[in-house]
Subunit: 367 residues, 2 copies
């Protein structure tokens, strides 16, 4: 692996000082910002995440804030998910698509009020699309990237750690709901959400000045819980089938291909750009779709490119994320497979940069 | 420095095999793609670039292709530069702004034909803005990212190397013009341009399959010219005053603040989004602007964040790119300074993460 060159363009976060002090070993870049990927080792981080509690600098989940009388109308234009029943205090996972139904991002929409939303984005400059649409349609909204940096607390001991810092009230937050909690006199949005299957919270830290005080408070409060700095773990998220925009789906794919049809209400999402393009696929289903792929391997090269999935000489799909699972003793992968070969149990071959390996379509992910 | 974690999301380029074989030591991420930053060392790469010839994988300069009857109209909507006199065969450096005049990118527009353009972008997903505007205004255009990966040939021996591979005709290409040249039966756009002050070309390699054959042909042909794999060099580009979007200007800045007023014809750029917002600043000038900053230092920490520029206790600007110049024996930096302190010779202090250093505003860049 090569080094990463620092520059202002690859933005530090309000938590970077803490991340560095904790001995971060590797980064990726996400929304033009540093995202840690390894602290001790991928495997040690994985074991720790599944057994204790971690504090994650996910400031790179930037917010697109939409405010104003047309805010709700605009957010509905961006997604085939029907938002009519959504209440302030709720978070919705919302695939966002262009006029052809191609995915532009898969953010979480946080409805703060009828006229104020945060779109908590995956890795694309969704701000530019939202601004372009708002301008083109002459909508009465303000759109910006506020000084809000999510900090995630993830792992089985998350509730205990959070309760020590924010009080027992956090235990009552339901999945994909949020509440407002006080930290040093500041009101923070705290949601039960996060990019792991181990449970936990995301704290939307508003104002970079309280970022390190909060980081230290969590580390201090969790000492006997074995709290540690962590980050989204590639092995754990693949086991759990958590997709990554840019890896497992791109602008080439519809939400239905990404297996996100359950988050689409294409027929009733009136006003959604791309609705016409998606109606047919929403009804008939896609011709290829995301599947869990098990690879017969105890070691894998890094999945830094799409790996073709072959049925004999025929390319029937591709793997886009892969890692060896210590807990399951196999290669765990996320792939997209054509419908002719997507049934559970189908034997395929996956072509890595180091050669082909036997693979099999599973009926679901591991976690 | 930490390592960079590979994943499909951080896209490899059609030249990555060559870059790796040449021993790349560090990368940055640019338009969701790998961009090499160091081969031997920053200083050795710098010396070599100034004396020989380098081949650069700048595939990350992705193209936004705009085709169709409204293509010219749309491109003019994106920039305050007046494009009416632009002919097919020309490249224009075009600051692109939002409705408030804030910079969204500083690409090179390549006019292939009246109804076909490539916008060769800096590091932001400009595609999303262009698509949003085209959709909102119902323009008759097709917009996409084609399979086009620029390969730059830079350095004083660039003409000699290029002539060996493409024939002497390349020597006649004028600055920011392009011609069509043959390589193994394929027609390639070759422009006299590039992100250094050492002269050279950018080859718009259409079709990933001929990328490595071209890479090898250049390396083979240039053996006695001391050709080597290289990359945009931070020291050289700062000496030359080549700005970097995301480093030296962002969406917060107008083109005038970035010192790009000479590329704006705000009064006559009819149709430009953001024109109204820019008219006043175009006439009266900005209150802060990019300047060359000399720092009294023989060593500098990495400029991975904005460094405040102070006049006593008053913050009067910031440095956003900095490196020690071996040829000039000082710290060379790009900063933005308020008009009260931007005159050449003004003594300031620059606050790095390792403490303050004496600095001075220069009347121009070094190269």
């Amino acid at each position: 692996m090569a080094l990463i060159s620092p520059s202002r363009r690859i933005r530090r976060t309000p938590f970077s000082d803490g991340v560095e002090a904790a001995g971060v070993k590797a980064y990726t870049v996400y929304n033009h910002m540093l995202l840690p990927t390894v602290f001790r080792s991928m495997e040690e981080d994985y074991r720790h995440l599944k057994s204790a509690v971690q504090v994650w600098d996910v400031a790179c989940e930037r917010q697109v804030e939409v405010r104003g009388p047309d805010a709700g109308k605009l957010v509905q234009m961006l997604t085939p998910r029907d938002l009519r029943g959504m209440l302030p205090g709720q978070c919705y996972y919302v695939p966002m698509v262009d006029e052809t139904g191609g995915m532009l991002n898969d953010p979480v929409a946080v409805k703060l009020a009828e006229d104020r939303w945060w779109i908590s984005i995956a890795d694309s400059d969704l701000l530019l699309w939202v601004k372009g649409i708002a301008h083109g349609y002459r909508l009465d909204v303000l759109i910006d990237e506020p000084d809000v940096s999510p900090l995630a607390v993830q792992g089985p001991k998350s509730d205990d750690l959070m309760a020590r810092v924010f009080g027992d009230g956090v235990r009552a937050i339901r999945f994909f709901r949020f509440g407002i909690f006080d930290f040093q006199g500041r009101s923070l949005v705290i949601a039960r959400s996060g990019y792991s299957k181990q449970g936990g919270f995301e704290i939307y830290v508003e104002g970079g000045d309280i970022a390190m005080p909060l980081w230290h408070a969590l580390m201090e409060a969790g000492r006997d819980l074995d709290v540690a700095a962590g980050c989204p773990n590639a092995i754990e998220r693949i086991e759990g089938g958590l997709l990554s925009y840019g890896n497992d789906m791109t602008r080439e794919n519809t939400p239905h291909e990404a297996g996100l049809g359950r988050f689409c209400n294409t027929a009733t999402a009136i006003g959604c750009i791309g609705r016409d393009a998606l109606l047919r696929v929403a009804k008939e289903g896609p011709v290829k779709q995301v599947r869990a792929i098990e690879i017969d391997a105890t070691a894998l090269p890094r999945c830094d490119r799409a790996w073709p999935l072959m049925a004999g000489d025929r390319r029937v799909g591709q793997v886009t994320s892969a890692a060896v699972s210590p807990d399951h003793g196999c290669g765990a992968a996320i792939g997209m497979v054509r419908m002719t070969h997507w049934d559970a149990g189908t034997a395929l071959s996956v072509v890595t940069q180091d050669g082909p390996l036997p693979a099999r379509v599973r009926d679901g992910f591991w976690a």
